[in-house]
């Protein structure tokens, strides 16, 4: 596969062009995969828009350069681009991310606050001219403003700014997080409630932001691999698989079939691992502490199997450019088969104690309904989207590794409620077992890793791959300028759109539902914050 096909568009035409693509009769590009902010130096600041059509699976990339670095419309001291958040809801939070890192303001986006960094952060760190010493360690408390800025483009080409209110004085705002048992990490949700009912949720992110994308720009390609396991630690294999695939495609490295088999099996093991943890955590969030341990008991077995082969339990460092780090452990095949047999025998307990339980049903059925249109517009991929009837499985739509050759069902449901999201993941566990069973006995002989050059340099161009991670589409967007370091390496976070979904699905529900919905959306915070 070659580099991405990129269509260059002028900023003033962006909205019309995007709108045309979005509502195209034949091939509507209704799914905005990601917006990747870019600093092309002399060429200027800008963004890449990765689009996909849910009906045909076709992908497009739009490139927009805000021509003048500081004065794209010749009117203000900041770069401006028109917002597309009225076409795709997910653009709202993605544009905030671009603003946070590049200082590009989007006219028409009602919420132009920083997303990951502190509100008093100076400068925009992913710009190439960012001064690394401009933000010494700040020990003050961060205060969150209750208002946000919106910029609109006047017909005469000038920019006008005004403030939007996030929470008014009448709102009873409860902080859920960043230190809270059920946010699964350091996520903070400012929640406005009316009695027990939720009126609005404003997620505040960045508590575990590590600047991985910035770090990547000074790491060689093999070194960047070390950080992917630390994004979504429950999709460590899949994340790394995506990056390895991207680099291999760009460098033209052909990997052996054995490595493909191993990667696929590992991805599916990881998916079972993640879904078991999902089950455990969801049940615990809903107050059932006993089934929590059932999930962990079985997950421990997967971790043991993986540790034997990869040497790690959470951070596994297994995929490398050209294959995998080490060959399968001699016991691997036997243990995997034993495990699947065991899992099939105990999964009934899981359903008996929780799925069938009247309390669980009451808590999940009909709670937090996400419509198919919203799921697509918000970019809520993975089990969440599939529960709303959007068949978005990358393994089916854009098969990679061995997925084109194995037989498996894409689990979809139509209800879109919490119970559907839960059942999709429970059924996927069995489906993953089915995939592994097809592969594990037929692993071909061959080398597990092909020799690569000591120093890997990629040709110039934009490359992107995506895989189905445990909780949605994980994408890697890479721009190479022919160096041994990436010019820009962006990851499509699976969790960011899911957190963005919270506000839509939780309104009008109860506080207890917020926890259940958060559990079923299944996000992992380090993956969101990167």
């Amino acid at each position: 596969m070659s580099a991405d096909n990129i269509i260059l568009i002028k900023p003033e035409e962006l909205y019309n062009e995007a709108s045309r693509l979005r509502y195209d009769a034949k091939e509507p590009m209704d799914y905005l995969r990601d917006i990747v902010g870019m600093d092309w130096g002399e060429e200027g600041l800008g963004a890449l828009y990765y689009l996909e059509s849910t009906s045909t699976g076709a992908r497009r990339v739009l490139k927009v350069v805000a021509a003048d670095r500081e004065n794209p419309f010749g009117c203000a001291e900041h770069a401006f681009l028109p917002s597309v958040c009225s076409l795709w809801k997910t653009a709202r939070i993605k544009e905030r991310e671009v603003f946070d890192f590049f200082g590009i303001r989007f006219t028409g986006n009602p919420d132009m606050r920083r997303l990951f960094l502190r509100e008093d952060w100076k400068g925009y760190p992913l710009r190439k001219d960012y001064d690394m010493d401009s933000n010494p360690l700040n020990m003050d408390n961060e205060t969150n403003a209750d208002v946000t800025e919106e910029y609109t483009l006047r017909p005469d080409g000038t920019i006008e700014g005004h403030e939007n209110v996030v929470f008014s004085k009448e709102d009873f705002v409860v902080n859920i997080g960043p230190q809270h048992p059920s946010t699964h990490g350091v996520l903070r949700m400012r929640t406005s409630i009316d009695g027990e009912n939720i009126r609005r949720i404003d997620p505040i992110l960045g508590y575990i932001h590590r600047g991985i994308e910035k770090m990547n720009e000074s790491l060689t390609y093999p070194q960047t691999l070390a950080l992917t396991d630390r994004l979504d630690y429950l999709s460590a294999h899949q994340n790394r698989h995506a990056l390895c695939m991207c680099i291999e495609q760009a460098a033209g490295i052909e990997i052996s079939e054995r490595a493909q088999y191993i990667r696929t099996i590992m991805d599916e093991l990881q998916r079972i691992d993640s879904h078991l943890l999902f089950y455990s955590c969801l049940v615990m969030d809903m107050g059932g502490l006993t089934p929590f341990f059932y999930g962990f008991r079985e997950r421990e077995m997967i971790l043991d199997i993986m540790e034997e082969t990869t040497g790690g339990r959470l951070i596994q460092n297994y995929n490398v450019i050209g294959g995998v780090q080490a060959d399968l452990h001699p016991d691997f095949r036997r243990k995997v088969k034993e495990f699947i047999k065991h899992l099939r025998s105990v999964i009934k307990d899981y359903h008996d104690i929780f799925t069938g339980n009247v309390i669980a049903r009451q808590r999940l059925v009909g709670v937090g309904v996400l419509s198919r249109e919203d799921a697509i517009s918000l970019g809520a991929t993975g089990g969440t989207g599939r529960a709303s009837g959007w068949s978005n499985d990358v393994r089916k739509r854009h098969p990679y590794a061995m997925y084109g050759k194995v037989d498996f069902r894409e689990i979809t449901r139509t209800e879109g409620d919490s119970f559907a999201r839960y059942m999709v993941r429970m059924d996927e566990i069995m489906e993953s077992c089915h995939i592994i069973e097809q592969l594990v006995d037929n692993i071909p002989e061959g080398e597990f890793r092909v020799k690569t050059k000591a120093i890997i340099k990629l040709p110039e161009g934009n490359f992107s791959t995506s895989v189905e991670s445990s909780r949605g589409e994980f994408g890697v967007m890479l721009e190479s300028h022919g160096d041994k370091y990436p010019y820009r390496l962006h990851y499509r976070s699976t969790g960011l759109p899911l957190v963005d979904t919270m506000d839509t699905v939780c309104r009008g529900q109860k506080i207890a539902d917020l926890i259940a919905i958060g559990g079923t959306l299944d996000f992992v915070i380090p993956d969101i914050d990167r």
Binding site: V283, T290, N357
Partner: protein
Amino acid sequence: MFDYYNLEPLLMWIHSTMCSLMPEWLAFTIEGIAVGVFIMVMYAVLAIILIYMERKVCAAFQCRIGPDRVGGRGGLLQVPADVIKILTKEIISLKNSDKFLYGLAPFLVIMASILTFSCLPWNKGGEILHMNIGIFFVLAASSIGVLGILLAGWSSNSKYTLIGAVRSGAMIISYELSIGLSVLTMVILCGTMDIQEIVAYQENGWNIFKGHVPAVMAFIIYLIAGNAEANRAPFDLAEAEQELTAGYHTEYSGMHFGFFYLAEYLNLFITAGIAVTLFFGGWMPLHIAGLEGLNMAMDCIPGVIWFVGKTFFVVFLLMWIRWTFPRLRIDQVLILEWKYLMPLSLLVLMVMTVMKVFGLVF
């Protein structure tokens, strides 16, 4: 012949001896203090036993082995060690809180719990507070606890505690209805409110056998509602740690928190103890009509052991429930009470009355 373990003669003898040695008022005072200390010690010891039991039982349900480090392989000293730790912890005072109510709340909770605790019929003649409306008093005294919870939530001046307290208030007030009705069902069966007489009524067979179908129903209703009264899962939404971090006692530390914790476990015991009194014959040994030898053997076991044994059995039942189910949501808790439990308990009450009138009970 049943009465050799009756404690009443012994206690009367102690009292008369004391009176012969000192004026009666002094004897009463000393006895009062002694009984008070005795209750406190029993309360603390039982709490330790219950917490240990909960940890071990919950561990077993969760495929774990539970505490096994402090105090030998059984971890017997883990809870005493935790008690010592909590005693040494600082009691943090909060800014902008209502200091008086904030300090008062845990004492209200523990006072309600101790008052109810004193009414339990440990043995024949082994009841500390004895009055002819005993079971009514138990219901009344246990309701003071919710006041403490509401005060704790309000005075902490925190949003989490407030939500927890309001939830708890709504829930406990609702479930008191079901508890009251199921207790009333048994009062109708026994024809008395006096706890000792309720136990005495069960001499020839426990209420759960005597009252058969409606009694079993009433027992199940009581178990569910009692679980809610004790703020335990699946009705622990007042403290719902996954939602409200710790609910009404989020802002409490040290022994103030310890009081809430203690009261929670003792309320569990009290709920079970009242259930045993009403349905399983209190301290009465198990008698099976016709098997005289067995009945004689059963009589040799002191009543206090019968009572504690049965109570721990019910406690285990409650723990089994707690460690199996997920938590309900506040509206579902209320729906369960008002749409399912309340009509059912009214029905059971009616059936019991009819059966009692027509002599259909044993």
